[in-house]
Amino acid sequence: MANLYLIDKPFADSALGLAREDPDAEVVLLQDGVYLSVEPLLAARKKVYAVERDVERRGLSSKIGNDVKLIDYHQLVDLLFANKVLNFA
């Protein structure tokens, strides 16, 4: 069971800081959170997901890296129940 950080942009600084140093962290970017730079997370070998709808409507599909896994809401629900949710949205 991971610590699943749900991250939107307004609280990104503290949420990303926590997640980066948390050995059990996985991150879900949602809403404006999909604009965030995830290099530090990936460098720290964290698994990063992004909500596909939020990426697509913002025109970011071609800009987001292959190392970020796009998920739909059904996959998100599975992640929510399989992990401990850290709410930063």
């Binding site: 939107d8 942009k9 809403q31 404006d32 604009y35 939020d54 697509e56 409507r57 913002r58 025109g59 970011l60 599909s61 071609s62 800009k63």
Partner: protein, 116 residues
């Protein structure tokens, strides 16, 4: 009672808040009065994400069309794009990139500004 020139700045990114589209509705609305105000639309900060080529415009298209027909382009600050690593080829073809010095000209020409 006078015609004014209003600089609308859009600072909110799509789609976390509705300002990306309601700001444009207000822009069009500002031109709807008896004095037919002059308007400029400028994207700054995270607002510039609206200029990306693939952004869903279904909620904004009618305002953009109205403004385009009046000869008004959506302007985007170059420095805000650069800070976010957005390159020219990432942008929608109908936006106009302007440097900060031109932003100062828009400010100089404006009677009022409105921030969204």
């Amino acid at each position: 009672m006078a015609q004014r020139r209003i600089l609308f700045t859009i600072n909110h990114a799509p789609f976390g808040s509705i300002h990306y589209t309601e700001g444009l509705r207000a822009v069009v609305g500002a031109t709807s009065g008896i004095d037919e105000h002059e308007v400029d639309v400028l994207y700054l900060g995270d607002g510039v994400y609206f200029a990306l080529r693939g952004v869903d415009r279904s909620d904004t298209l009618k305002y953009i069309d109205t403004l385009a027909q009046a000869g008004r382009k959506l302007k985007v600050e170059r420095e805000s794009l650069q800070e976010r690593g957005i390159a020219h080829q990432d942008l929608a073809p109908d936006v106009e990139v302007i440097p900060r010095s031109a932003v100062r000209d828009l400010i100089a020409q404006a009677d009022f500004t409105a921030g969204f």
